[in-house]
């Protein structure tokens, strides 16, 4: 495990989610650069398949970051995103994988402080849980 960088994938909506990430970077708030961000038009576009595929392909943890639920650019997209995340959490529980490996967050585009916190939380979790199935040889 020594020296291994945690692999965290974040699906961010192109409105508030990605804006919060960009604002965070522009305002000099550092966050772990090893996190892989995937911009999606809306968290309602994130399918359970995308999350599972990320885990299958080596991600330790996955987060989905969308607009605030009552302020979603597409009205109900972040609610849909949360439902998908909850469904995949249930699937992971059924096969004995820690459901905490995936999480849904909501942020406003002006919440520059929030993005580094989310990344730190997920990176810390990825370090704690380690890779699924242990370190690859």
């Amino acid at each position: 495990m020594t020296g291994r960088k945690p692999k965290v994938v974040g699906f961010c909506c192109e409105r508030h989610g990605m804006d919060a990430a960009v604002l965070s970077a522009r305002s000099g708030k550092g966050f772990d650069a090893s996190v892989r961000l995937v911009q999606v038009p809306c968290t309602g576009r994130v399918d359970g398949m995308h999350i599972l595929k990320a885990l299958e392909d080596g991600a330790d943890c996955v987060f989905v970051l969308g607009c605030l639920e009552k302020n979603c650019y597409y009205d109900t997209g972040s609610i849909e995103g949360r439902k998908r995340v909850d469904y995949v959490k249930q699937m992971l529980s059924e096969v004995g994988i820690e459901k905490e490996r995936i999480e849904m967050f909501n942020a406003a585009s002006t919440n520059a402080w929030m993005f580094p916190e989310i990344v730190s939380k997920m990176v810390a979790l990825a370090k704690k849980l380690g890779p699924i199935g242990g370190e690859k040889q």
């Binding site: 599972l52 059924e94 096969v95 004995g96």
Partner: protein, 234 residues
């Protein structure tokens, strides 16, 4: 349509665990509509099983496939190579699909990935309710278009029973009384006299109790000559 539900993933994982090559076959018909065994559900299942195997260090190969209608041999034939090239097939169709594959390749193992449930209709997104049990003798023209066999907990032909209160069923207070619904429907249709008509005991010989049922349309069947011609083409 036929409504089914995915088996718990740990149960599926346990079923396929002893086999190396697993073909998972979905169906684009009813089970795709009820979000149980369509293309997306098959891919998600395979992905979840791969993640589980990754955790447990198990080496297994999965192939995700989907056919148009798994209950028809012609469509299953399209994936014959994949089926026979695997150690086991996990059918993500209703039991009809799983049994079709099983009947076509009797020596090949075909396990069900879904629990087949009801003949249901979508009431709203994500909600399906049973409205037919396939009793083989439909009487809904006399009950305002509402089936008392499937929708009444007691399948009463002359309802409501004494347990109906406030339009709710005594068996489950969240369920509407089928006979209240029938009364309302007949009233709208100005056919309330039908509610007073006594329906005699039902002939259940057309239902499933007598064993396997087979429906035949003689005019649609192929003659031996036609069968021979079709086999020659295939």
């Amino acid at each position: 349509m036929i409504v089914a539900k995915r088996k718990p993933l740990n149960e599926i994982a346990e079923m396929v665990a002893p086999y190396k090559r697993v073909s998972v076959i979905g169906c684009r018909s009813c089970v795709a509509i009820c979000l149980a065994g369509g293309e997306k559900e098959v891919k998600m299942l395979v992905s979840a099983l791969k993640v589980k195997n990754k955790k447990e260090g198990r080496d297994q190969e999965f192939e995700a496939l989907v056919v148009e209608r798994q209950c028809e041999k012609e469509w299953v034939k399209e994936v014959e190579d994949k089926v026979l090239g695997s150690d086991i097939t996990l059918s993500m169709a209703c039991s009809l699909g799983a049994q079709t594959i099983g009947d076509m390749y009797p020596s090949h193992l075909t396990f069900p990935g879904l629990n087949t449930g009801i003949f249901g209709v979508p009431e709203e997104q994500g909600v399906w309710s049973e409205k037919c049990v396939g009793c083989g003798n439909c009487i809904i023209h006399t009950t305002g278009g509402i089936c008392p066999i499937s929708r009444c907990a007691k399948s009463m032909l002359n309802g409501p029973c004494g347990g109906s209160a406030n339009r709710k069923c005594e068996v489950n207070l969240d369920t509407d009384c089928a006979w209240s619904a029938i009364y309302d429907r007949l009233k709208i249709q100005n056919r309330l006299e039908l509610i007073e008509k006594v329906t005699p005991a039902k002939d259940w010989s057309t239902s499933h109790a007598g064993g396997r049922r087979t429906y035949v349309r003689e005019d649609a069947k192929l003659t031996p000559h036609q069968k021979k011609g079709k086999e020659a083409v295939q």
